[in-house]
Amino acid sequence: MEDFYAKLADILEVEEVKPNDVLRQFENWDSLTALSILATLDASYGVNLTAMELRKINTAAELAATVENRRK
């Protein structure tokens, strides 16, 4: 999980993502970005999150916590 924030930054095409950053406030947040995040969580961590579930998640830290919980 140590590369979680780096992967997120990659998808969002920014230098860095901090835990308290609100996902929807990134400039290039759109449905394709959401799709990219879901695909990456599945491929990298084996976590299947639905679009509806992602919609309820606010910050990068909340997303990280959800992924951690699902991996257990």
């Binding site: 998808i11 449905s31 799709l35 990219s36 879901l38 695909a39 990456t40 679009a51 509806m52 919609r55």
Partner: protein, 256 residues
Amino acid sequence: MTGAANPLDLRGRRFLVTGAASGIGLATALLLSRLGGQLVVIDSNPEGLARALSMFEGNGHVSHCYDLRKLDEIPSLLMEVSASGGPLFGLVHAAGLSCIQPLRLLDPSSYHDVLRVNTEAALALARGFQHKKVADPAGGSIVFLASVMALVGSPGAVAYGMTKGAVTGLVKSLAVELATRGIRVNCVAPGFVKTPMFERVSSLWDAEQRVQVEAAHPLGLGEPEDVANSIVFLLADTGRWITGSVLVVDGGYTAR
């Protein structure tokens, strides 16, 4: 006029169906068995295969649990199938993988298996099927699964569309090359069909996107049986003057 009284009578004919444990493959295999066809079903899911086998009508059907990513061994698998149970009249490659990823995530490793199963396995199956020890000397019929994503576009469908577009290209030259052998080659291009693959893909959409996809099909989303009916039409003598075609079965998705 020539031909049988019922061109959909498949008694005495043997068909190989991949991806037969679920979705379009299962619906196709079931219909073939109801029309009197004898089946060789292939899937990578052993439980699904056993369940499918118990659903078919008639006797003498066989199953092979096989991972179609092993391309090199596909022709010998078909040879073995034919040697043990008789020649094949038809081949349906319904096994497939989905790949819904935006371009920015499409490194080659992300779509390698999808290309292998959707496209390269189709070619390997055709190569195995056309062998004179495999295909029925009376002729044969191959049906591949393309997709509306081979004909129109959608965000995130780049790799999937590539694999299915290649299938439509494959069908044209195979049809011409195999015509002298009496083997017809066609594909169907389904719209969104309610299958386990669709459920996986649609979990990536929010409620709004799901409504949009449904609305894009004037006749609504398809059932696996809707596509199976078209596949069987192409396989049976109903399709005997059809080769090299892409039959669009999409509830009107591409009509707009």
